[in-house]
Point group: C2
Chain length 741, copies 2
Amino acid sequence: MRKLLIAGSLLLACTAAWSQPKTLSGFGETDAKQELQLESNFDGYLKAANIDSNLRIMSSHPHHVGSPGDKAVAEYIFNKFKSWGYDVQIETFYVLFPTPKERLLEMTGPVNFKASLAEPALKEDATSDQTREQLPTYNCFSADGDVTGELVFVNYGIPEDYERLERMGISVKGKIVIAKYGHSWRGIKPKVAQEHGAIGCIIYSDPRDDGYFEGDVYPKGAFKNEYGVQRGSVLDMPIYPGDPLTPGIGATKDAKRLDRKDAATLLKIPVLPISYHDAEPLLRALDGPVAPEEWRGALPITYHVGPGKTRVHLKLAFNWDLKPVNDVIAKLPGAEWPDEWVIRGNHHDGWVNGAGDPLSGQSAMLEEARAVAELHKTGWSPKRTIVYCAWDGEEPGLLGSTEWVETHAPELQRKAVVYINSDGNGRGYLGAGGSHALEPFMNEVARDVIDPETHISVAERKHARELISAADGNRLKKDLFQKKTFSLGALGSGSDYSPFLQHLGIPSFDLGYGGEDPGGEYHSIYDSYDDYRRFKDPSFQYGVALAQTAGRTTLRIADAPLLPFDFRALAKTIDEYAADLMTQLDNLRETTALKDQLIKAGDYGYATDTALHLQPPPAHDLVPYLNFSPLQNALNRLDHAATHLADTLARMHLTGSKEQSVNEALYRAEQQLLSDNGLPRRPWYRHTIYAPGFYTGYGVKTLPGIREAIEQRNFAEAQQQIELDAAVITRFADYLASIVL
Amino acid sequence: MRKLLIAGSLLLACTAAWSQPKTLSGFGETDAKQELQLESNFDGYLKAANIDSNLRIMSSHPHHVGSPGDKAVAEYIFNKFKSWGYDVQIETFYVLFPTPKERLLEMTGPVNFKASLAEPALKEDATSDQTREQLPTYNCFSADGDVTGELVFVNYGIPEDYERLERMGISVKGKIVIAKYGHSWRGIKPKVAQEHGAIGCIIYSDPRDDGYFEGDVYPKGAFKNEYGVQRGSVLDMPIYPGDPLTPGIGATKDAKRLDRKDAATLLKIPVLPISYHDAEPLLRALDGPVAPEEWRGALPITYHVGPGKTRVHLKLAFNWDLKPVNDVIAKLPGAEWPDEWVIRGNHHDGWVNGAGDPLSGQSAMLEEARAVAELHKTGWSPKRTIVYCAWDGEEPGLLGSTEWVETHAPELQRKAVVYINSDGNGRGYLGAGGSHALEPFMNEVARDVIDPETHISVAERKHARELISAADGNRLKKDLFQKKTFSLGALGSGSDYSPFLQHLGIPSFDLGYGGEDPGGEYHSIYDSYDDYRRFKDPSFQYGVALAQTAGRTTLRIADAPLLPFDFRALAKTIDEYAADLMTQLDNLRETTALKDQLIKAGDYGYATDTALHLQPPPAHDLVPYLNFSPLQNALNRLDHAATHLADTLARMHLTGSKEQSVNEALYRAEQQLLSDNGLPRRPWYRHTIYAPGFYTGYGVKTLPGIREAIEQRNFAEAQQQIELDAAVITRFADYLASIVL
């Protein structure tokens, strides 16, 4: 029988995790001591040199989906796991993966110009000359197309930019747009352009965002030189990620596939990414109004919006082939509860050599897995099964993880305790997002990892950064000092946790270090070992820190007698989201009414330079009051249920099958937050608390059903979603209440 | 006997000036009707074509201090006034006015480069080729110097930039600094550089601020092309303006002059303004840390701070001659109270052709004066004397106005009712700053001037702009709708009101239109008639609007039976300044303590990329609580006195000598706000409520004695200044209380 330190210590963890004596949520005193000793041994096995070597070898050749390099990397990982004694297999899916057959971008007026569409090799970058093996610069899942039209500059190409264009009297219908990278996931730009009638889309990297404005350019410094291009997917992942032809099911060899024309996530217009070297002549040639100040970048030109005499011709054709993606799945069976899985993953495919993205994370994960294997050799086994996953096909659209999750969905919903993700990693501060019932737990993990640069805990460093950032922004307040824990970020999308969390409701984390590793190499040929060694994490100590962080997370959850879920933290977080929504609605109501008054009074006309011919913004209907009481009552119920559960668990001494059934109930709880029909117009996304934004892409929307309906001013739908979420949260509260009945 | 509409209507004016029936503060019903009819006739005389013609003729040649063009312009103005029947004279002073003898700027390492220091003639700009008559590009009152040193980029060169440099571990001692124009008056940059030990200072115009980033460049558009240079004075005017050799006294022919080395307002280091064409090679050559994000401009480079291998050689020599400044003073005697003067002024000297600055304002003032003369021809005379002043030597340091004010100080303090200033003018919105006892009055003036573009009153347009600007910045609140008057801006410096207001306490206004006339021509050869006609006010309708606004202001104050001062508005404004100061001190106390905690905890080190070697900011002593009660009690007394005065005046029917003595007491009241010893370390500035900032130059500091002491963390001085200001305000309150005894 174990004596457990649970609710009491959880409460302390909520208020001052890092200043407390080292308690471990879910562990009794003796167990905790053993666990801390285990982790100390684990740390002892981790070697930065191994991370370096993993990274160097795996990034030595381009390794995108379907390439020989991709297969070689998967086999490298497979062999490593095998050699360390894991039960390992490569699970292969067959996914749509278009690659370029033809790429042409030229300006035909007022002057002629043909875009180079090429990233040159650099003598300072050893792998940059592997031209034959490299994917050319392109946006994966662009449509085929051959279009010619006037060019319009649309800033970042997000919906509010089109509102501004409308005020300027500019339509993109029948035109080709050029948008800057940034401020949204890239796939949003062509999608919104297409919605507005554009026939083609160019996306370029402005030097303001990751080029010379930010710092010296590669190879002198880390930032994007004039030829660097960001490749990347433009699949409409906010509808569903994964293989576009097999939504909701695994893309096995024999899976029933959609016809390509019926795949909802495929664009209808061609889209191409270019460098600022290629963009400058196009932008310089534009006339029409001067772009609004916040639209302008760092090119030495006056940014105009167009349209006018500037005509461009964009011609793109692709090979629309099915390609294999090779997921490497390695298991270390649990000694006590083998059917409870702690899943830890990082993708292995890159757009080119992919040193930073994803191999920095992958290399650290491999070292973590090796150290876990070393622990196992000493006689220790995890209580729960640990599953390491090296995903393929993340870059084109979370293909490898999504297909695996869809294939194994029922088993995962039974067995998966948690999914712990990482991706690219570098020097700096801990970034941690995830399921908020595990927020106190993660504070304990971060308390116990020491930052390699400052030798304080990564939690303390994270807090210091929050304080200094507030001080620098003149937002420093006493309560920020008093706050002694950090909040987990809410997860949107952009890496492989998405299918676990948002499709299946499996509690998830996304972990990584960064903030002192900026640069412009992302998805270019310059994301190389040479670049990484100079600018990202030269000593690989942050690779070690990631292995320590994700490793501790994995080990503690695998070994905890009682799983460290604290639903009070989740309840509190949802309370905050709901309060924020209500405030937002009130603000929207007030500003809509006030703006309407301005519009009616003609003030926009009076306050605008008549030479600019700027139209007032459109008037909107009054924003109604919505009935939030069902949600408020549900949250009240949840608060009570979560507190009652925590209090009860603190009093109980669980053993045997009761312990197992409580644990199972705890880790499956978040699945109760899935809605049966998913989000409006995108049923694949079923989590009612977290989703990637329909118009932000990676950026998270919390309570997404309600929030996006309000943002879209669809108040009838917002009311429905309030009721739906209230029902889901009530069910969740009742579920929690039933756990210790 | 006149029936006066005063306090009652003043109160209404305070709350909703433009929505009321047309009452005129200080006028009885019949008088008001007559006055409005007079103003309507006045409007009828104003002709845009005359403003155009004045501007064209006066800007046809360069007309800086001491030039033939300057004399010609003064004579043009003199002859105009003479022809209209004014009693006119040219009053000449003799002032120090250095002009360049030698200018050299070169980079001697790591590469060689010699700055062109020249603005080329353009075929699109007819006067730009008058090279022989143009002053070369320079900063007036730079020291002579021949210096060579490493270059350091100091952003805008204001004190907080040096705090940042210190955190970067960079000293400018013995080095030459390069600063961007903007964010402070230019004279602050070399002054602060000199205080930090720099041996030379270069100021350049970054294209981010008024070049291609902002819009198309001249001659295609209005913004600064790569060769445009902003000339301008670097006299240390925050100590005293006017001739550096005759502080406090008129620079008449025989005045006792300081030795040049003893003039406190003269710099000790050489300083030179350059174009971005000349700046780019220097900035591109810099190494050292990358400049902080907010320091970077729009040149296509990575901005580095230096120092390093970049060495520059700056050699400047000047002719240190005395030059005449010719003030044109024209009077129209008052029929009733000839010894009460309503003074209206605008300068006439320019740096080169000076079409926008100052001739757009000067031309409108001339047209205003002509229309006043036309009224006079019909038999009307002002009750008070109107004095039109066309100042010379404003550009080098308010020389013409300051010397005139210093020469006639005692007479002015007896006779001057108000000083109404204007300067450059263009298309857009009314800008109005001034003495707050006249705020309700100015709201009435703006109520009665119709905007030429939108055909609503300029007051309404100003309000619409305030609303839309708040809406665009998401700051729109209901109370802004309800606010139906505008506030006068507080006056700092930068034009000729400064000696009137801040040295003598004469109630002042500064009026002008702008906001739809941006560009980069300021103080360059491109501030020409051609530029003005295309980009500033093509139809000269805003010249007419200025004449209507300043003309109404002049006429109403000249004719008002009771002068329209409402000291309740002033009291309310000072209350706000004091409240703001107290909040600022509290904020400073809190942030100082919190930052101190961060510094002591080492958080700056933890939250900063160790590769940047950024030091924490310096710790400061705790910020004490100050005793504001003397000021609060004084303000309380002032509130009561102002209200009592207004109530009493509303009940009284004044006539004859009592009327005259009350009026005199009213217009001399603001002089009671002067302190006998002036501000600390700059006794010339005696106004306790308004002053230009010691470290901002033009930017105003309200309650400057207290505010600057707090900003400089000199809390003992702040406490002294609180007591001093409290005594002054008490005296002022008692003075007001005595007016109607």
